[in-house]
């Protein structure tokens, strides 16, 4: 806040700052659990992620200690198997993804000129899910019950027969919990980037970092649901004996591999894209010129985002899939070299045409380049099927993936850390200690993993807890271990450097690196509201084109510079042009996200110890908290009861028909749709491929009941759509009653569907057919109930006056859900009733 207390501010402006500070205040003490502000939540994500990094690193050191010598008995095979499974799991799920989300949550609003993300309570909820999930998962290490089936959890090794302990349950439940957090961050990042950029920042003018994060967030939204589905199915198999992955019951273990890698491969790019985004942000600053080929980079990002979904089978080249199918995936994997090559040469030509200076962040970027290029080259080699057969599951792959992940993610992250540290703390890091830690980590890394390529080519497999001295691998493993410890020393030094800088760092100037992006126009350390006034920007390089911005922003010369209304506000702008469309009023601190996450944690623990009735109760409690949270919206007294805005400003978003809420719902349905498509994929996959699939001659489901439920849903949707059309014409007569009618139709649909399920007499623990059918029907049933419930609440809200012609947003949002239900219901009807009836029972 030091900058805002400048003596130059007039009393009026000072009052504005004080008002902002009051409205955006983060409570201390217990109240800190209610904080929803993106700066605080982002920081929490990053600090928690760093802690998990240290835990994961510790596990890595245990692995290297064990493998340093042949026939070592430092750890038993059981401990070792748990340790390497948890190393992968912690690093991927609890460190890499969350810490990058943290960076995005922290930086994105600051870079696009917003005051917060579009769903602040969702950020807080996501954080608590992550924290609780992470704690549950890592507690298994302390309890010595950690999962030991590898981070990829292949069935049937991870299923009940071969992993009877609780380890797999810890993994499945903990990871699903953490993924909720990733999804919520993904959804709100997409909507924030598209809809809350500051005035005038058209899509093609936004910083490249925002493009990268947009792609990452969309990939999370589409890529995570397959694994969530897989985890749910596997947990159902373990807990209720539903044989999705069991050959004897008509399932197929390869289905798990598909679902896992459908997520697992995009995940690699989800991790790499933000890393590349950091490079594309920092590199022009140190090259002292704008990046060349902005459009090339955007095209490369789009291509990477899509191609990465066409690669998943390259983790399964040895599974015995037809060679021609493998060749498609192999070719697709090679294609990734093109967008990567484009980015590397765009960076090169930016440096070539600029006047680059070396500095600590730049040093990390050079380290990134060296390591990542090597990892990328071995990646192209691995894309080649026959070569892959030779080195798959050897230390060659271990080396390759560490080159890609550490090179593509950790090094850019460290560059970003040193680059943005002055922004967070207001102080500059130390060059000398920083260089030491860089060289230790860089050299340590290469000593560890370069030699490991060779160890792998010599035939050393992955995931072995020891090896025989006669194999002749002793010296290579010892070298790798020494390198590993060098790297740890570097990490220790890095932590020391960061810790010391808070105390001894020299005070940072306003724009220490002479950067071009908007975050450097903020006060340091940042205020929760980021900018006291939101500037109009039509350039990709705001601070290079107008170095006065920090001053004019602080002096309140730009938009949204009033606070007497007491609302937290930011701009809602057009996704394409950046023209202003509405004033988004954001919720303030709230207990509901914490309580909702806490009750979900109780659900998770109850499932873990198999207290199912209690889990059911806790689920209901969580639902109540979530609905209560949604209640405090729109015209609710705790949100924005008064809709007056300053003259000339656009209306509040809850008073429009197309606010960001509609977008949030749509993006959430993208995730939901991905989940549903994965489920359909599972159904058709088992149907066509599973060796022992059994399907009854005629469908066990009653056609009249199914058709009746579908009819109720269709009528309800049409009715709801009619009411929304009338709202659009500003007509809200009979809205409340209409909502109750829609709720009634939803309830009817649920009842008929429930009856159909009950009548079918499925035996889900006998055959995979019945199990899959049951899960699919339960999925539509839950959606039907949700549709009914939301309409019921809308009816109540109309009665309270929170919804109506003046505040018409929410029915539009609910209608989206009904449309989604409509598509899902009828397509599922075709998949599970029409097609089996037409094609007959046998597989």
């Amino acid at each position: 806040m030091s900058d805002t207390k400048d003596a130059t501010l007039t009393p009026g402006i000072r009052r504005l700052h004080e008002g902002m500070a009051r409205v955006w205040a983060n409570p201390a003490g217990l109240g800190a659990l209610t904080v929803v502000n993106h700066t605080s939540v982002g920081l929490r994500f990053m600090v928690t992620g760093a802690v998990f990094f240290l835990i994961g690193g510790l596990l890595a050191m245990l692995i290297r200690t064990q493998l340093a010598f042949p026939d070592n008995d430092f750890m038993s095979h059981e401990t070792y198997n748990q340790v390497f499974s948890m190393h992968g799991t912690v690093m991927m799920f609890l460190f890499a993804i969350p810490i990058l989300e943290g960076v995005a949550i922290y930086m994105i609003p600051k870079m696009i000129g917003a005051r917060d993300l579009v769903c602040p309570r969702l950020s807080a909820f996501g954080y608590f899910c992550y924290l609780f999930g992470g704690i549950i998962l890592t507690s298994s290490l302390v309890l010595e019950m950690a999962p030991s089936s590898g981070w990829f959890m292949y069935t049937p090794l991870s299923s009940g027969d071969y992993s009877p302990g609780r380890g797999s349950d810890f993994w499945l439940l903990g990871i699903t919990f953490v993924e909720i957090s990733a999804l919520s961050a993904g959804v709100e990042l997409v909507v924030s980037i598209l809809r809350t950029r500051t005035e005038g920042m058209a899509l093609h003018k936004m910083p490249l970092f925002a493009w990268y994060i947009l792609a990452m967030a969309l990939m999370i939204v589409v890529g995570f649901p397959p694994l969530i589905l897989g985890s749910i199915l596997l947990e159902l198999e373990r807990a209720a004996g539903m044989p999705f992955f069991d050959v004897a019951g008509g399932g197929d273990p390869v289905l798990w591999a598909h679902l896992f890698w459908l997520f697992g491969h995009p995940e690699v790019y989800i991790i790499f894209l933000p890393g590349a985004g950091i490079v594309s942000t920092l590199l022009p600053v140190f090259a002292r010129r704008p990046i060349v080929g902005y459009g090339w980079v955007v095209a490369a990002i789009v291509i990477m985002g899509f191609i990465s979904f066409g690669l998943w089978v390259h983790h399964m080249f040895t599974l015995g899939i037809p060679q021609l199918a493998l060749a498609f995936f192999s070719a697709a994997s090679m294609l990734v070299a093109i967008p990567t090559g484009i980015q590397i040469f765009v960076w090169l030509s930016t440096l070539w045409l600029g006047r680059p200076v070396m500095s600590l962040p730049m040093l990390w970027i050079v380290g990134f380049l060296v390591i990542f290029v090597l990892g990328g080259l071995t990646g192209v080699m691995l894309a080649l099927v026959p070569f892959n057969w030779q080195v798959h599951d050897t230390h060659f792959v271990v080396a390759h993936m560490h080159y890609v992940l550490v090179g593509g993610m950790l090094f850019p992250l460290m560059a970003g850390l040193y680059y943005w540290l002055p922004l967070v703390s207001g102080r500059m890091p130390s060059e000398r200690l920083g260089k030491w830690s860089f060289w230790l980590i860089f050299l340590g890394f290469n000593v560890t993993f370069l030699i490991m390529h060779w160890t792998g080519l010599l035939g050393m497999r992955r995931r072995v807890f020891t090896y025989d001295s006669a194999m002749g691998w002793d010296i290579y493993n010892l070298i790798s271990s020494v390198g590993g410890f060098m790297m740890s020393a570097g990490v220790a030094l890095l932590i020391l450097d960061i810790a010391l800088h808070f105390r001894f760092g020299r005070k940072a100037p306003q724009n220490p690196w002479n950067a071009d992006t908007l975050e450097w126009a903020m006060p340091k350390p940042p205020t929760p509201y980021n900018f006291v006034s939101l500037p109009r920007l039509e350039t990709r390089h705001p601070l290079w084109d107008d170095p006065e911005l920090p001053r004019t922003i602080t002096e309140g010369q730009h938009g949204l510079n009033t606070i007497d209304h007491g609302r937290r506000e930011t701009w809602g702008s057009d996704a394409l042009t950046g023209k202003l469309r509405e004033v988004v009023h954001l919720p303030t601190n709230s207990w509901w996200p914490f309580f909702a996450a806490l009750s979900l944690a109780v659900v998770c623990i109850c499932l873990l110890v198999r207290l199912y009735p209690l889990a059911g109760v806790a689920t209901l409690v969580a639902a109540v908290f979530l609905l209560r949270w949604s209640w405090e919206n729109g015209a609710h007294p705790k949100a924005a009861p008064d809709a007056t805005v300053a003259p000339g400003q656009p209306p509040l978003h809850s008073r429009t028909m197309n606010g960001p809420g509609v977008w949030t719902m749509s993006v959430a349905h993208l995730a939901n749709g991905s989940f549903y498509l994965s489920l359909l994929f599972g159904w058709f996959y088992l149907w066509t491929v599973a060796p022992e699939w059994q399907m009854p001659e005629t469908s066990p489901l009653s056609l009249p009941l199914l058709a009746g439920a579908g009819l109720a849903l269709t009528l309800g949707s049409a009715w709801l759509a009619k009411m929304v059309r009338r709202l659009r014409r500003h007509n809200d007569s009979g809205l409340g009653g209409g909502m109750y009618l829609a709720a009634g139709l939803g309830a009817l649909q649920s009842a008929l569907l429930g009856l159909a399920i009950w009548q079918a007499g499925l035996a889900p623990s006998e055959t995979a057919h019945d199990a899959t059918l049951l899960v699919a029907l339960a999925y539509v049933l839950i959606h039907a109930l949700l549709g009914a419930l939301l309409c019921l609440l809308q009816g109540l809200r109309v009665g309270y006056g929170f919804v109506g012609a003046e505040a018409p947003l929410e029915p539009v949002v609910v209608l989206r859900l009904w449309y989604y239900n409509l598509v899902v219901y009828w397509s599922l009807f075709v998949a599970v009733w029409v097609m089996p009836t037409l094609l007959g029972g046998a597989s």
Binding site: L203, A299, V302, L324, F328, S330, L335, T577
Partner: protein, 116 residues
């Protein structure tokens, strides 16, 4: 809706790879189903109905994407605003890549038999 059809709309950044993705899913799923329903004998080599169908689908998709790429270039030339030119041209690049990717990925049908 009409707006979305114009090549200068950013939606075209993702249409190309989406078409590619649909094609990819179609050939992979089609191949898997065909191989589990009616696998040709290995003696037939590459000259099977499956390979030919996949090959034709590949060529058709490639031509479609090339055409769209060309439409993007034309639209970029005619565009008035910088923004429109920018998006049309970038989309054209992505379409071109998608076309190349389709051809490249479909190529193995000439040297691999389908179901082994």
């Amino acid at each position: 809706m009409k707006r979305l059809l114009r090549m200068a709309h950013p939606i075209h950044l993702v249409v190309g790879p989406t078409i590619w993705g649909l094609w990819f899913v179609a050939i992979y799923a089609g191949l898997s189903v065909a191989c589990s329903v009616a696998p040709p004998t290995p003696e037939q080599g590459m000259l099977t109905g499956i390979n030919i169908a996949v090959g034709l689908a590949t060529l058709a998709t490639t031509v479609l994407l090339l055409g769209l790429s060309w439409a993007g270039v034309t639209a970029a030339r005619r565009a008035g605003l910088h923004r429109e030119c920018y998006f049309a041209f970038t989309s054209a690049g992505v379409y071109l890549f998608s076309a190349g990717a389709t051809l490249f990925i479909g190529y193995p049908v000439v040297f691999l038999p389908p179901c082994i």
